[in-house]
Structure formats: C-alpha cells, structure tokens
C-alpha cells in the first residue's frame, strides 16, 4: 500500500489476474477470494502504474477477442440451420451474461481511462452503484464491440438467413421453436452499444432482412392466390394474412416496427388495388355487407383506397334512387304521401347499408348524404317551373325539383283533418313529420318548401281545418330546430299569435249581438298573412252583404287608425240546399255561394254565363273556375249545376253557355241515393289570384337574388378581399338553409355588385374581389 509510485508493474499483477479473467469469460467458478483479489489488483495497477490502465485494457481486449474466436468456431461448426442458431444463441447468452459480470472488477479502470483519479472510497461507492454504472461501462462496450466486430460481422448473414428460413417455414405451416428467431433478434438488440439508438443494428440488419423476406414471400404468393381463387376469396386471404403478419411481427420484431406491415399492405392490397376496386360496385349493388366490411377493412389501409369506394357508393345510391323514383313516377307524382314514403324507404335501405357495411364511418355517411341530395333535388321525375315558364327580367329560370312542394303537401295531409290524419295516432303523425324534416335536410331549395308550407298553414288556420293545433305549433318549433331561417319561422309563429287575437275578437263580436249566430269573423293582420296579395272583387248575395257594415262598425269601435279589406276569396261557409227530394249541407267558398244564390230568385231558370258574370261581378277567370267546381266536382257523382254544351275545362265556357241547378242532385253512398248529407265543395282554398301566383313565383326568384346580394356584401365586409372560390364556398354556407344559389346567379349578382360599385376585382388577379365601402 505504501510502495512508491512506479515500483509496482502491470506485468507483475496481470499474471495473477489473467487466469481469473479467463475463468470469468468461460463462466467457470471463481472463488470469492479470487473475485476480491481481482478488484484489488485492478485498483493497484491503476494507482501505481502510470501505463497500467492502457495495458490492462489492451490485454483484456486481446483475451476477449481470443475467447470470441473460439466461440465462433464452435458456432460455425454447426451446418444445420436450427443447430447453428441454437449454438449461436447459447454462446451469445453466455457471453452477454458475462458482459454484466466481467466489467464489475474493472470499475477503477474505467475511471482511470476517463482521466480521473479516484480514491478507494468512491470506487466502493461505484461498486454499490453497479447497475447505473454498467450502462456506460467501457469494458462492457469493449466486449460488445468485439463480439460485433468479430463473430457477428462474419456470421450475421448466415444468422439472418437461417432465422428467415424458419419464419418462411412457419408461413408455410411448419412448426419450429420460435425462441430461435426471438433469440437472434435479442442478440441484435442487446449487441448495440450505441446509447443514442439502441435499435440501430437490429433495424439495419434483422428488421431489414425480415421485411425483405416477407415481401418476397407475398410477392410470390399473393398474385398466385388471386389468380387461382378469385377476388372474393383473395380478400379473405389478404385480410387473414395481414392479421397473421401483425401477430407474427409482434412475436419476432421489436415493438414499433411497422415497416413490415406497411410492406405487406403494399403487396397484398396496394398492388392488386384496381382488381379489388373493380368488385366494389357489384358488392354494393348486391348489398354484400360482410364482403364490403372486408373490402373496407383492407382498402382503408392504403392511401386513396377508400376514396373510390365512396364514389361507388354515391353513384349507386344516386342511380338506384333515381331509377326507383322513375319506376314509381306514376304513383309518386300524384301522391305526396307515397312519394315521401318511397324516399324514406330508400333512405332507410341505404342508411342500413352504410351502417352494416361501413359501421357508419363519417366518410361513407357523407357520400350517402351527397347521393340523397342528388335524388331529392333531381328534376327528371318531376320539376317545378318557378316563374311558370315566363322568363323573369329576361332570364330563363332553371327548373327545380318538386320535392319541397310534395313535402309541404304531405305535411299538410298530416296536420289537416284528413282521412290520413284521422287514421294515424298522434305519435305516428309526429314520427312522419320528423321524417319530412329528415328529407327536408337534403332539399337544396328550402325556400320553396317554406312558401308551400306557409300557404298550407294559412289555409288550415283560415278554414279551422287543423287536426291538432298543438302539433301545428310543435311543427313550427321543429322547423326552427332543423335550422330553418329564423325570420321565416317567426312569421309562422306570428300567424298563430294573430289567429288567437282574431278568435278573441270573433267571440266579442258574437256576444255583442244575438243576431249573428250565422257569422264568424276572422280579421287578420295583413302584415302577417297577405303582404302585397291582390284582392278579388265580388258582388255578395244580400244575405252576406247585410253583415258587412255591422262588422265594420264593431271593428271601428274596437280599433282606430286601421282600415279593413275584405278577402272574400278566402272566406267560406256552409249553405243548405233544399231540393224536392232532400236537404244537403254544402261547405262552399264565398264565390261558390255568390254563384249559387243567383238562383234563389229563379229556382228553375237557365242562366247564361254572361248573366252570372253580371250578377256576381267576378272576374272572368274566377267565375270560370268557380263554375267548373260546381259542374265538375271530382268527388260528386251528381253535380250541383248542369250546363249545356261541351266543356272539358273552365276555358271552354263561352258567354252564351247556360247553367241551371240540378234538381235531381243527391249524394250517393254505397250506390244508394241519400236524402240528406253534407259535402265539402271548397277544395283547395284559393289564397291568391292567378296573377299573384305568378308574382309569388317571381318573388321567390327576386328574394333569392336579394339574399344572394346581401350575403355577398356581408362576406366582403368581413373579409375585405376574398378569392372567387372562397367566396362561393362561404356563400353556399350562408344560404344553405334557404336555397342553393346557382353558379350562374352568383356570377350575375357579382357583376351587378361590381357595376354598382359595391365591390371591384383586384387589378392583378381578376379572381379576387375587393370590398368597396
């Protein structure tokens, strides 16, 4: 201990140390005394011989290399694959274990080589702290690197080859000891002394070889299987193989090694992609949900694999939907209930397909919705001519789907007292109304629905024909919930409010005098009901005329600053028709009343068209329509009025056509003549005149133009400058709850706004617009 530095030589000590080192390398027993001695000798060599540490390292290295050479010879002596792997793994495991022991006594050497002089105290400490230190151990690194440089570099190709041969054999169904492959892999991982990237050797050698052999295997097998068994069987094969390879990779590869699966996907799915996709349309058509699931599972793994499937689905739904609509055109164009039912049946069918085959994957739901939109807004089966064929402001209007009108008609059948609404329970009506809202979601031009729905609601409220007033108001809220524009929904709500005000007023009027049990009045807010609509003049029968001044006087007492306008084309009533054989109650319009009462003074007379015109003062069109409803009411076997001559439409009457009351009138029920009964001749209550109907259509188009301009300005105000494409997208988004603006209309409105200096085009880029305040 107290010898001077330089007196103790490495060579003297090494003679004692070496046998112990060799024992350790060979995993031969070492006594505790020898083990202790080795520690002490290393300490002395490092402390007293300046050149000791370097020499110690070199000698150690030499012995390690020597040992490895012997191990290599033992391994390479094996000719057979499994035996070779077994021998290698056995040698490696022994060596790797020693990698944890041998460095321990050389702790002091480590410090010396790193240029630190350390006391025995700290060396003791590092002994206690074995594990942490061994990670950076120089001796350990020396051992591993030596193994890597000598044995591993020489035989790694044979090792890999042998391991891959075993994996290949396993793919062909042969069993073997998987520990052999796993053992090889572990040696690749543990061998790596690069602390930055511990998987470097593994990845560059083992994994690369694994991927290469896997790819070769399936490049051979996959096309063969496809050719021999066909696409459907192949999909099952590919799916099974992908799962199998995933499981295999978990066994044989390090976690996070995804390369091999990507490679399998490329070979099994990517390469034959077009062949697989060619099958997609037929599977969708036949509703082969299980096979579609399989196809989806496979194709989802490759980029751009799902996109063509989406397209196929959209095409199929659109085509099948339209074909179905066209096949049933005769029924559904006549019957809005059947139409909605048919559509919903289609929706349910395809929604089920998307659910079963694609688990409601959002991409497929979107494709389904796109197809539903095409079906609903298609104009092949029926079209709605906005503007009734006349061009508006010199522009021809493109036809639109009649769907929104039919939806509104169906709503009306559910909400009005009709045979349908009487047959259904309240819950059934509600669920059908919800169905309508579902379809409405896909309608581009919701403004058309709004217009028809409002007209129907007006009729129901004016005729007191609602089946359930609570449901009426529910419906308004549901429309709000599905995102119909607030100003529209508010207008409907205002009509309900107003009709209640009017009911109160009617109650007051009826109690104000006893004489008026035959009259009900509805005095409505023109702003809520009939903005800008045109009135029709009529000369009322005296029986009705009498009431007018009394109502007006009553109203003047209640209110001031208001003017009243009578809307006789909306008013209606019940009259009793007495013939020689019976008595019938007729629900009629006021116009029908005016015509029929003309016979009260001359029961059996024949009256010419011209004289009826003079008596009623109805405009030509209204009189023709009214007379037609009395000579050819669809539900009646015996008509109320008879006329001479031939007429197949209202326009066929001329001023000399004579009309008379059918004294043989009777209601026929089950083939028997009834002497009493009630019949409703009102039909669809007219809300506006022919001319204002055209104006209505025009006003839809005008309103669209206005809304489009407003929306463009709104967007520009916010964005200041915007590209044409971005503008179009935002515009459609803003307007989508009302209508789908056509490209042409947008273009026209842009031009108009530019012309009128609301905005301008960018001088450098004509496809960019700039807001002008």
């Amino acid at each position: 201990m107290f010898q001077e530095k330089g007196q103790l030589k490495f060579e003297d000590k090494w003679v004692h140390m070496r046998p112990i080192v060799l024992k350790l390398l060979k995993q031969e027993p070492v006594s505790p005394a020898e083990w202790q001695e080795l520690f002490y000798d290393v300490h002395l060599v490092c402390l007293w011989d300046e050149k000791g540490p370097g020499k110690l390292r070199d000698h150690l290295h030499e012995d390690i290399v020597q040992f490895i050479k012997q191990a290599q010879n033992r391994v390479l002596a094996q000719r057979q694959e499994e035996a070779l792997l077994k021998a290698y793994i056995a040698e490696w495991r022994k060596f790797f274990t020693q990698c944890n022991y041998l460095p321990t006594p050389f702790r002091q050497l480590e410090s010396s080589l790193q240029g630190k002089t350390t006391s025995a105290g700290t060396s003791m400490q590092s002994n206690n702290n074995k594990k942490g230190a061994s990670d950076e151990s120089i001796v350990r690194k020396l051992m591993l690197d030596s193994w890597n440089e000598s044995i591993f570099s020489d035989i790694k190709h044979r090792l890999q080859e042998s391991a891959m041969k075993l994996v290949h054999a396993e793919r062909n169904g042969e069993a073997f000891d998987s520990q052999l492959v796993i053992g090889v892999r572990e040696s690749y991982v543990n061998l790596c002394s690069n602390s930055e990237d511990r998987l470097e050797i593994y990845r560059e050698n083992f994994e690369a070889a694994y991927i290469q052999s896997t790819e070769m295997f399936y490049r051979m097998k996959a096309p063969e299987h496809l050719a021999n068994n066909g696409v459907l069987a192949y999909m099952r094969y590919a799916d099974a193989k992908l799962r199998e390879e995933e499981a295999r990779a978990q066994r044989y590869l390090e976690a996070g090694s995804n390369g091999v699966i990507q490679c399998c996907v490329k070979v099994l799915v990517g390469n034959p992609l077009s062949v697989l996709l060619a099958e997609c349309a037929a599977l969708i058509k036949d509703g082969e949900t299980e096979r579609l699931q399989l196809m989806f599972r496979l194709l989802e793994r490759v980029p751009e694999g799902v996109q063509p499937m989406l397209k196929e689905l959209e095409n199929h739904i659109t085509q099948a939907g339209l074909a179905d609509m066209i096949a049933a055109a005769d029924i559904i164009t006549q019957d809005s209930e059947k139409y909605v039912e048919r559509l919903l049946e289609l929706f349910r069918k395809f929604s089920k397909l998307v659910h079963d085959a694609f688990s409601d994957d959002p991409r497929f739901l979107t494709a389904r919705d796109k197809a539903f939109k095409s079906v609903v807004n298609d104009t092949t089966v029926f079209r709605l001519e906005l503007g009734t064929g006349r061009s508006i402001a010199g522009k021809v209007v493109t036809p639109e789907s009649k769907c929104p009108e039919l939806l509104a008609n169906f709503c009306d059948m559910l909400l009005r007292r009709t045979p349908l609404s009487k047959r259904l329970t309240s819950e059934e009506i509600e669920s059908r109304l919800r169905d309508v809202l579902l379809v409405l979601k896909y309608v581009s031009n919701k403004d058309v629905f709004m217009r028809y729905h409002k007209a129907h609601l007006t009729r129901r409220l004016i005729l007191d024909a609602s089946a359930d007033s609570e449901k009426e108001e529910d419906m308004v809220e549901w429309l709000r919930e599905v995102g119909m524009p607030a100003d529209y929904v508010n207008k409907l709500a205002r009509m309900f409010q107003d009709i209640k005000v009017s009911e109160d007023l009617n109650a007051q009027f009826r109690t104000s005098t006893e004489r008026h049990d035959a009259i009900n009045i509805k005095i409505l807010n023109a702003g809520a009901w009939a903005r800008g609509s045109e009135r029709v003049t009529v000369s009322l029968p005296v029986e009705l005329e009498d009431y007018i001044p009394e109502v007006e006087d009553f109203y003047k007492k209640k209110h001031s600053g208001r003017k009243l306008q009578w809307y006789h084309h909306m008013s209606n009533g019940t009259i009793t028709f007495s013939t020689n054989s019976g008595k019938f109650d007729l629900d009629v319009t006021t116009f029908q009343m005016a015509v029929l009462f003309a016979w009260n003074q001359r029961t059996h007379d024949k009256i010419t068209y011209e004289n009826l015109r003079l008596a009623t003062e109805l405009p030509d069109g209204e009189l023709r329509r009214t007379l037609w409803s009395l000579v050819a009411f669809p539900k009646l076997k015996r008509q109320l009025l008879l006329f001479c001559g031939i007429a197949s439409a209202p326009k066929d009457f001329d001023e000399h056509t004579v009309f008379w009351v059918n004294q043989e009138f009777a209601l026929i029920k089950n083939g028997k003549t009834q002497k009493r009964g009630k019949v409703n001749l009102v039909g669809r209550l007219q809300l506006s005149t022919e001319r204002s109907q055209i104006e209505d259509n025009q006003s839809i188009v005008q309103l669209r133009i206005l809304r489009t301009q407003e929306a463009i300005i709104k967007i520009l105000k916010m964005r200041k400058r915007i590209s044409n494409a971005a503008l179009q997208t935002e515009l459609v988004d803003i307007l989508k709850n009302m209508f789908l603006p056509s490209k042409k209309m947008i273009k026209e409105q842009l031009e108009w706004l530019i012309e009128n200096k609301y905005m301008r085009r960018d001088e450098d880029d004509i496809n960019t617009f700039i807001y002008m305040a």
Binding site: I462, L463, D464, N490, A493, R494, F496, Q497, D498, V501, A518, I519, N520, I521, K522, I523, L524, N525, A526, G527, A528, W529, A530, E543, L544, Y547, V551, Y555, K558, H559, S560, G561, R562, K563, L564, Q565, W566, Y567, H568, M570, S571, N572, G573, T574, I575, T576, F577, S578, T579, K583, D585, T590, M593, L596, F597, W599, N600, T603, V661, R676
Partner: protein, 109 residues
C-alpha cells in the same frame, strides 16, 4: 243525428220555402292594416305593419308577435311607429319627413 233533427226543427220554424239555398254559416275573412299613406316607417325603415326594429329585437326574448308596436299620426298626416317617433322627438321635435313641428294627431289602437 240529434243535431240534424234540431237543425230541421229550426229550419221549419223560420220557413222560407221559396229559397233553394239558405245560409247556415259564413266565415268572413278580412285583413286590417294601418290606414297610412306610406307603408314604411321613415325612421327605422321597417314596414309599419311589422313591429319596429327595437320591438322585433326585444320580442325575440319575450313571446313574439305581440302587436304592441302601434302607429302614430302627426298633424302633418305623416305616420311612424310610435316607439320610433317617441325616441325621435327627444332629439328633434320636427317630423322627419316634412320638418313641420311634430304634434300627435292620433294614435293607432
């Protein structure tokens, strides 16, 4: 059935045998509007038949559609929403259309 018998009795009581058609019930429909020369309120630019802008904004919170927003006529015969005019006169006691001194001729009810 009972109804019809009653009706028949009534018909017999007020017998008017010469009439082939007799009125049983008439549902007469009329629309009211403010008796104004100009449909639009010149102050808020909303039609006078609709509530003024302020009332529309407030009515969204309460039960909508309540027609409390009446019209007022000045001596000059110009008319506005009463709400709009009562705010206007606080700034300027003249009719916004003809600049005559504003005095109320009548109120809508």
């Amino acid at each position: 059935m009972a109804d019809e018998n009653e009706n028949e009795k009534m018909d017999n009581e007020n017998q008017k045998p010469e009439k082939m058609f007799t009125l049983k019930k008439w549902n007469a429909v009329a629309m009211w509007s403010w008796d104004v020369e100009c449909d639009t309120c010149a102050i808020c630019r909303v039609q006078v038949m609709d509530a003024c802008l302020r009332c529309q904004a407030e009515s969204k919170k309460d039960s909508y559609g309540k027609q409390d927003c009446v019209v007022v006529w000045g001596e000059c015969n110009h008319s506005f929403h009463y709400c709009c005019m009562s705010l206007w006169v606080k700034q300027n006691n003249r009719c916004p259309l003809c600049q005559q001194e504003w005095s109320i001729q009548r109120m809508g009810k």
